[in-house]
């Protein structure tokens, strides 16, 4: 069964962290169709977290068609994010890795690479807006 972790320093809200961890597990195949998610009470007892937060995350996942709540039984994974997404992103990931290697060879350190990447994402967005 999937076990949630909360990172207080990530700047991502606890509810979003739970949603992302389920999506991530579905994408990597750690969570498969039919697998049960921990109950709200289990998550609450483990993480000392507001039950409304867990409910909200589960509702959003249900809305996205990724899980189904069976009243009195539990919440189960129904959707999958595994293969198509990975297959689609594989070539992109390879290209990006190639680009990072080139950037390293050009003498950029990790911080500069990240700054360059963020800057490029931002200017692409600005061009999209304009």
């Amino acid at each position: 069964m999937i076990e949630f972790q909360l990172d207080a320093r990530s700047g991502v809200s606890p509810y979003m962290q739970i949603v992302q961890q389920v999506r991530h597990a579905l994408r990597l195949g750690l969570l498969r169709e039919g697998d049960q998610l921990p109950t709200v009470k289990e998550v609450v007892a483990r993480l000392a977290i507001n039950p409304n937060t867990v409910l909200k995350a589960y509702r959003e996942l249900e809305h996205a068609g990724l899980v189904t709540a069976r009243p009195g039984v539990g919440t189960f994974a129904t959707g999958s994010l595994a293969d198509p997404a990975l297959a689609e992103h594989g070539p992109l990931r390879r290209e990006l890795r190639g680009w990072i290697i080139k950037a390293r060879r050009a003498g950029l350190d990790e911080e500069s690479i990240e700054a360059l990447f963020r800057d490029a994402v931002r200017s692409a967005r600005i061009e999209g807006v304009a």
């Binding site: 700047g11 606890p14 609450v44 007892a45 000392a48 977290i49 507001n50 409304n52 937060t53 931002r122």
Partner: protein, 297 residues
């Protein structure tokens, strides 16, 4: 559903000093509400008014749809864990449970016994010899075994070590998950708030500085930074909460319901802690009701 807590122009004066004034609030039921503010901001005063330990000097306060007026029917619907969790030091754990059963018509003896067992407390041990964490857990047991509809806690974990604090908050959240209960919790530990609370009330100098749904607050606040700019020249729908400027750069915490599209700004999300700290500053501008001011106001 009626509000867990509703106040109108509520004020409380001690001698010449107003501990709380002009406090108007509407806190929905079924939430875990974080009450924050500096020392002396009026948190304890508000909580004491809510549980009927004090009477308002002006205005009204209603809890679970009933005006607080020392009515015993209403007091039985509210559980209270006071600051430093006072107990009777000479009485045993068992005595405390017996006392709870005698004083509270809706006492849930099974819940109380199960909790004591779960916490591995010796029923015969005197409360005075319990550790701080155990005392807090016993006080929480007494408050929850009343099966309250509203649970009020005043700085319950302030004096606990990190492990005892986590254990206490787990117990509290477990109880919240199992029973339909509203919780109002005052705390200085704002780092805990993000995982505990879905509603926030911030007091400053006896007044409501900020109140609203935690998700709405997170969605409506952004930190923006970019080339130095006068904050007066921002769009009317962006309210500046906090600003700092260097020679070349401006960094602002703004509140807005609209997306920030100005490409000159780097826009970042903020944590609940960032928001609380910004509004706690003495020069912060109040913004109650969880809504950003409308353009042109």
């Amino acid at each position: 559903m009626s509000a867990a807590l509703a106040t109108r122009r509520l004020g409380k004066r001690f001698g010449r000093r107003w501990a709380l004034s002009g406090c108007t609030l509407q806190v929905p039921a079924g939430r875990v509400v974080g009450l924050v503010g500096s020392n002396g901001a009026g948190k304890t005063t508000l909580l004491h008014l809510a549980v009927g330990l004090d009477e308002p000097s002006e205005g009204t306060i209603a809890v679970l749809g009933e005006e607080v007026a020392g009515a015993s029917s209403q007091l039985s619907r509210v559980g209270f864990v006071a600051q430093d969790t006072p107990l009777y030091p000479a009485l045993s754990v068992e005595d405390h449970l017996r006392l709870g059963a005698a004083l509270n018509p809706g006492w849930d003896a099974t819940l109380a016994r199960d909790r004591v067992r779960q916490l591995a407390l010796d029923p015969r041990q005197r409360a005075g010899t319990l550790s701080g964490g155990q005392r807090a857990q016993l006080a929480l047991t007494l408050a929850t075994a009343k099966r309250p509809e509203l649970l009020v806690l005043d700085e319950p974990v302030a004096s606990l070590d990190p492990l005892a604090r986590r254990e206490f908050l787990r117990s509290l959240m477990e109880f919240t998950a199992e029973h339909a209960v509203s919780v109002v919790l005052s705390s200085h530990l704002i780092a805990d708030l993000e995982r505990l609370c879905d509603y926030l009330v911030l007091l400053a100098e006896g007044q409501v500085q900020l109140a609203g749904d935690a998700d709405e607050l997170l969605a409506s606040h952004r930190r923006i930074s970019g080339p130095r700019r006068d904050s007066a020249r921002l769009p009317a729908n962006q309210q500046v909460v906090e600003e700092s400027h260097t020679e070349r750069q401006s960094t602002l915490l703004v509140r807005t319901d609209e997306p920030i599209i100005d490409p000159a700004w780097e826009v970042a999300e903020v944590s609940l802690e960032d928001i609380v700290l910004a509004y706690m500053r003495p020069d912060a501008r109040p913004a109650a009701d969880g809504k950003a001011p409308k353009a042109g106001r």
